[in-house]
Amino acid sequence: MRRSLYASTAIHAALLLWVAIGDAFSRDTVTPEFQVTGVTIMSTAEFEAMTAGVEPTPVAIETAPAPRPQPAPEPEPEPAPEPEPEPEPEPPQPQPEPEPPTPPAEVTDTIAPPAPPSGAPDLPPDDRPTARPADRVAPLPAPAPEEDVEIAPEVVQDLTEPAPAETVTEAEPETAPEEATTEIVTEAETPSGGPLGPAASVRPTARPNRPDPVETAAEAPTPTPTPDPAPAATPDPTPEPAADPLADAIASAVAEAVSEPAPPAQPSGPPLSNAARDGFRVAVSSCWNVGSLSTEAQGTTVVVGFDMDRGGRPVEGSLNLVSYDGGSQSAAQQAYEAARRAILRCGANGYGLPAESYDHWRQVELIFNPEGMRLR
């Protein structure tokens, strides 16, 4: 009995294998064509993952693995690891449901047309219509499509050659950047659409006032300015920080952030061109006379810092020796004085630097390196 049973199963298995192999051979030429369409399929899988959160992978596995699952009781461990990483993203998705819904809705809109083949039945786009959550999901969907592309080839076979596939592929790259931009814009709700840095600059000023009252309070009970504890008549200037620790924490974080960029102001105007730099360098070089320097000073490199006015003239009082290298202090002083003479002499009528780039050359540090000019 068993022998017949074994024979029967062997025959059936062989038959199934033959059928499977035969199909594969017969469709070899087709698969490469559908690789492109696979991209679209993956996008639909994303929708499934986003909505049901169960199996985006099954889409790719459905066809190919179908014959294999039987002989593969062993592969069980393999599929196990796959789902493991997936479930991780899944749980967060369902929990923050409000968050994912927003971007996916937009993505689905653009991808929807190519998706119909496989995604249509699985996903209820109609249920998803949740246009409300379209806030932050945009960044997540972008990475997903790449994985799908690899898996797609076999699955595509069933889809045959829908023309929409081509259109879909084009749509993806276009839609992705658009989504990102739209969402970024939404993040900029509080500040106006202007530059990034200055947006929260108002907060920091209020912050430093806090520590003062605290210190004074410890010594003298009279401190009226304390905003939180004493809502007396004076606290008017700081109404917000009343008694909200959360707001304080946020304010402090913002204050720290704003306090750093405050000192340096982003230079405006186009950067100084190489030609302008060379012209500046040559102009100073023509006045840098090292002939009257001592041999030691001729071997001393000095860095001279100074400010320039808008006319391209060095501000006399701003010249200073930033650092020196290669000689004694007295030699550095001589070298510095020669450099100073060069800067002031050739800059007397301005260095002719472009006014629109003033922020880029308002402060200058020139390194006077006589290495190539001194005696051997």
Partner: protein
């Protein structure tokens, strides 16, 4: 709590995000450019005639102004702007400086001064200004001295200006002892003479009855040691500049030929060459007496010794390798080490007062050169070339060399020249007649 966390997280993210631009911005900073090419040219300076505070100082004021200007010009590092080009007229030593007027004529340094005479003594005051910086370079100084010492006062002013601008000590208030020569080439009369570095105030220290050679100043400048044939053969003599009384060094007297003397850096000893049985070696003896110490011992000619400034090493010439070359050895004796490695013959080495270079005479391919090399023989650099250049001597600041140059032919005559160690500013020193074998004194003040 969740919302609070998220808010805090958002705030932190905002903080981090806003910090980034700051970091990126800090990298910009001031515009930094490196200048590696400059110019080497004389620095233009203006020196209006020093103001005479009284009638008796008028001539001295003019003379001092002229000498100060000549000192600076003579270095090759400065160029005087003629007074006819001046816009401002300095009528008072304390008047404010019209910097724009001096900038207009491109004067980078301005020297103003005044001279006052009182009771046969002169008072010279001066100030130095960096015109383009619009500020004085150092404080004003004054010198007081006898009227006849006006040249030294002028040299002192020039030394101060030179030192403040270049960072190196000046060499104007110095003297040079040399051999004054007269007569035809085959019957030359030689005398030891002394002059200011610029050829002024020549004094003869010996007469022309005896042949004299190679005078050398002591480190303090008050004594001179030289070789004389007074006894019929070369012998080392010493003379105090104050009384001009020559006397042979008794410690060296030995009946043998002694020559090529030089003081040790402390002035307490003399090193010289002595010939014995056709062989010359270098010896050392104390000026105050005592026995000779033989420093070299080789069957070859060792001569022309010179000490490093710290007295720890001695450089000399020797033909022990077959040709005339330069060697360095410990001052107390030891194994000499050859440092001259080029082709040709090297001789008369002299250690720089700064200790960084050794000057020498080189003969190669029928021509003579004055050159310098590092104390280990590296960075050899030839500064001159002629029919006959020889016997370099260092200025006290270690930047300028004097040497003898002799022209070719039956009418050939020696003269003293100076050159910067860069090889620039080669010029003849004004001497009254033919001159050779100069030796530079230390600064007198």
């Amino acid at each position: 709590m969740l919302t609070r966390r998220s808010l805090l997280r958002t705030a932190s993210a905002l903080a981090a995000g806003s910090a980034l631009p700051g970091l990126a911005f800090a990298q910009t900073g001031p515009l930094r450019l490196e200048i590696t090419e400059g110019v080497i040219e004389p620095l233009p300076f203006a020196i209006p005639s020093f103001i005479a505070r009284n009638g008796g100082a008028a001539d001295a004021a003019a003379d001092i102004t002229r000498v100060v200007a000549a000192d600076l010009r003579g270095t090759g590092l400065f160029r005087q702007i003629p007074e006819s080009s001046h816009i401002s007229t300095v009528t008072s030593f304390d008047a404010p400086i019209q910097y724009n007027d001096w900038r207009a004529i491109n004067a980078q340094a301005l020297i103003i001064g005044e001279v006052e005479e009182s009771g046969g003594r002169l008072t010279v005051r001066f100030r130095l200004f960096d015109v383009f910086s619009g500020q004085p370079l150092g404080e004003g100084l004054q010198f007081v001295g006898a009227r006849e010492g006006w040249r030294r006062m002028a040299h002192n002013v020039a030394d101060q200006v030179y030192e403040r601008i270049t960072g190196e000590g000046g060499y104007f208030d110095t003297r040079v002892v040399f051999i004054h020569e007269e007569g035809p080439k085959n019957a030359r009369l030689k005398r030891i003479a002394l002059m200011d570095y610029d050829g002024a105030n020549v004094q003869f220290l010996t007469d022309s009855r005896n042949l004299v050679l190679a005078p050398r100043f002591s480190p303090t400048g008050d004594r001179i040691i030289y070789t004389s044939y007074e006894s019929g053969q070369p012998r080392v003599y010493m003379m105090d500049v104050a009384n001009l009384t020559p006397r042979p060094l008794e410690a060296i007297s030995s009946g043998n030929m002694t020559f090529s003397p030089r003081f040790t850096p402390d002035g307490g000893s003399v090193v010289f060459s002595m010939e014995q049985g056709g062989n010359s070696d270098i010896y050392r003896v104390s000026v105050s007496g005592g026995s000779r110490v033989q420093l070299t011992n080789a069957p070859s000619i060792e001569t022309a010794p010179s000490f490093s400034p710290d007295g720890s090493q001695m450089v000399f010439e020797s033909d022990r390798s077959g040709g005339q070359q330069i060697y360095v050895m410990p001052a107390g004796g030891g194994e000499p080490r050859r440092i001259s490695q080029g082709t040709g013959r090297y001789g008369t080495p002299v250690w720089s007062p700064r200790g960084d270079y050794i000057a020498f005479t080189k003969q190669e391919a029928g021509r003579f050169h004055i050159g310098v090399m590092r104390t280990n023989g590296s960075e050899e650099r030839l500064l001159t070339a002629s029919f006959l250049d020889e016997g370099p001597t260092w200025a006290p600041n270690g930047r300028v060399l004097m040497f003898t140059r002799e022209t070719a032919g039956a009418d050939g005559a020696p003269a003293v020249y100076s050159v910067d160690i860069s090889g620039r500013n080669l010029q003849r020193v004004a001497t009254p007649g033919m001159a050779s074998d100069p030796s530079w004194s230390p600064r007198l003040s």
